[in-house]
């Protein structure tokens, strides 16, 4: 059974033109790292938070989210608490925003153990030190006595990861865990997350705007646009043969690091900007920015996710776009 399972989840907010989430289907199994990639406003963070029952206030909900078999939509507070303190944990973008600056690292890490599990101080401290060692911090005992301001952003994010592990979760939701960090620190955090995931056989959902990072770290990738999942495929396949024009566009937008000699290849950006909540489209939400959009087809009905080989693609032109996409994305093979 899948550890995390979204079934046709839709979230609508009053006063907006389109749903925040529109029919999300997504699964994460134990031992699997799955990426959810999208730009600002795509709904990727809302999706992740939904797994913990953190829905936007005043939202209309439809569909299901199950964490380890427990339904989250409409769940009572006790069930939600059991998910949040047991099965699933979340790591956020800004480690400094998630920690009380006037309390010691040790207090932050042991609080839930002492309050929820009723452990005594010595036992909780020993466990916290163990967790800090597990996330690769050099001097666990010393860090327990330190305050957040004494640690760098990268070290603090490791503390947050240790905090997420206290309850021994089986599912880790990582919402842009490295976006606020330097590139070399990002590698370090991803290395730790990857190691923990392997050691503990965790299911992991990585939310990111960076498709390259998703490709480097994950087994499978979901691509989201304007509240819908537009494509999902195993990483290698998504990279080599992106079927949705948006996926191809994202790949064509990232400047390649290694390029052939001579002047750099010109980027092929996606025209326009991501769709806000106050805009809506009757058909495919990407049609307005799509180079291949066909009038009378793409602007009529919203495409559903359909299977094409190993991939699921929501595009009316999925079959035929393959070849033409290869022409627009002037990307060197990885």
């Amino acid at each position: 059974m899948a550890l995390l399972e979204y079934e046709n989840l839709s979230i609508a907010l009053p006063g907006t033109a389109r749903p925040v989430l529109d029919g999300i289907d997504l699964t994460v199994s134990a031992g699997e790292i799955v990426a959810l990639v999208g730009e600002s406003g795509s709904g990727k963070s809302v999706t992740a938070r939904s797994a913990l029952g953190l829905f936007p206030t005043g939202a209309d909900l439809d569909g299901q989210v199950r964490v380890d078999g427990t339904e989250v939509v409409g769940a009572d507070p006790a069930a939600l608490r059991s998910i949040r303190t047991g099965t699933a944990s979340m790591i956020f973008q800004d480690p400094r925003a998630g920690i009380n600056p006037v309390r010691r690292i040790g207090d932050f890490l042991t609080e839930s153990l002492r309050v929820s599990n009723g452990w005594d101080k010595g036992r909780a401290n020993a466990r916290a030190a163990e967790l800090l060692a597990a996330v690769g911090l050099p001097a666990p005992e010393r860090h327990l006595r330190q305050y957040p301001y004494e640690l760098s952003g990268g070290m603090l994010q490791r503390v947050m990861i240790a905090g997420a592990l206290t309850a021994g979760p089986r599912l880790l939701l990582c919402d842009e865990p490295t976006t606020a960090l330097d590139v070399s620190t990002q590698a370090e955090i991803m290395a730790i997350l990857g190691r923990l995931q392997r050691e503990r056989d965790l299911g992991m959902l990585l939310i990111t705007h960076d498709i390259e990072l998703a490709a480097a770290a994950c087994d499978r990738i979901y691509v989201m646009y304007a509240g819908r999942i537009v494509e999902t495929a195993p990483t290698a396949q998504l990279f080599e043969t992106p079927r949705h024009p948006y996926t191809a566009g994202l790949l064509g937008s990232s400047p390649p690091l290694q390029a052939p000699d001579g002047p750099p290849v010109r980027l092929t950006p996606i025209p326009g900007s991501p769709m806000g909540l106050l805009d809506s489209a009757p058909g495919c939400s990407f049609a307005a920015r799509c180079r291949l959009a066909r009038p009378g087809v793409c602007d009529r009905t919203a495409p559903r996710l359909e299977r094409h080989g190993e991939a699921l693609v929501a595009c009316h032109l999925a079959e035929e776009s393959l070849t033409s996409v290869d022409n627009t994305a002037t990307r060197e093979g990885s």
Binding site: E39, Y149, M155, S184, T185, A191, A216, P274, G276, R289
Partner: protein, 285 residues
């Protein structure tokens, strides 16, 4: 240095140094920074947080005063302090900047058109019709039109705002344009649009670009030379293509390896990072 040579050199920075004092400890933000930029050239200043790249940008635009060293723009030294209108305008014509955050770098209260109009008026375009024409020209150059001119910043997307900020900087007609992480807050698809725009501007105007960024791939795309900063010191300064294909300094190698890609190995990167930068030295962020 021949006269001919100095005319082609837009920017010459030599021995730049800046330190900050917090309590008793002195932190060296930038030390011994030297480089030069030819007309139409683009230099990338690459570094992570604490590398001194933002301090460098702020010194170039006169928001910070260097402790030592000299900045020459078109052969003229950039005065440490400016007094009087003429000096202010001359300094503005030397170097302009585009900041990282498209949400905070425009005046929220006035329209994009009014912002650019104010800049043009300050820089001596007295006739309203001339100003309007020049404004249209500038906005067209960055891919914006009448609709955006009449809009307040909050009515525009991040990419449009960043285009407006570029137009505002170009309105001064500076010799050098500093871009301080100017695309890193943008969505990937929008970032590509702005990067293409920057290379167009560079090709069309002959302006010199100083591109401050943490992102090697982006620097690779915009610049011909790159300078790698680490803790305020220059690690490497070479043509970008060469730097990327054959990085000399271990730090450059680490930066390059850190960029996510399919054969990425975060474990070996963190090991190399620890070797380069022992945890004991890792201070507060």
């Amino acid at each position: 240095m021949t006269v001919e040579n100095s005319a082609r050199t837009l920017l010459r920075v030599s021995g730049l140094r800046k330190t900050y004092r917090t309590g008793k400890t002195e932190v060296v933000a930038v030390d011994g920074l030297s480089f030069s930029l030819q007309a139409g050239g683009a230099l990338g200043i690459v570094g992570e947080s604490g590398s001194g790249k933002t301090t460098t940008a702020r010194m170039l635009i006169g928001l910070e005063r260097p402790d030592a060293g000299q900045i020459l723009v078109q052969g003229e030294p950039l005065a440490p302090t400016v007094r009087g209108r003429a000096a202010r305008l001359a300094r503005a014509k030397a170097v302009q900047i585009v900041f990282q955050d498209p949400y905070l770098s425009l005046d929220a209260r006035i329209t994009i058109g009014a912002t650019i109009d104010g800049t043009l008026r300050l820089h001596g375009l007295a006739d309203p019709a001339t100003r309007a024409a020049r404004m249209r020209e500038l906005l067209a150059q960055v891919g914006l039109g009448e609709r955006e001119a009449a809009a307040l910043p909050r009515e525009l997307s991040g990419g449009q705002r960043q285009r407006a900020a570029i137009a505002r900087a170009l309105a001064v007609e500076p010799a050098v344009l500093v871009l301080d992480e100017a695309v890193s807050a943008l969505d990937v698809s929008v970032q590509a649009q702005v990067l293409n725009l920057l290379s167009d501007i560079r090709r069309d105007t002959g302006i010199g670009l100083v591109f401050v960024s943490h992102d090697l791939a982006v620097v690779r795309y915009v610049c011909d030379e790159a300078l790698v900063l680490y803790r305020g010191r220059t690690m490497e300064h070479r043509p970008v293509a060469e730097l990327l294909s054959d990085p000399g300094h271990p730090y450059t190698q680490l930066l390059l390896a850190s960029v996510p890609r399919p054969d990425w190995d975060p474990d070996s990167i963190s090991r190399r990072r620890r070797e380069l930068d022992p945890p004991a030295a890792e201070g507060a962020g």
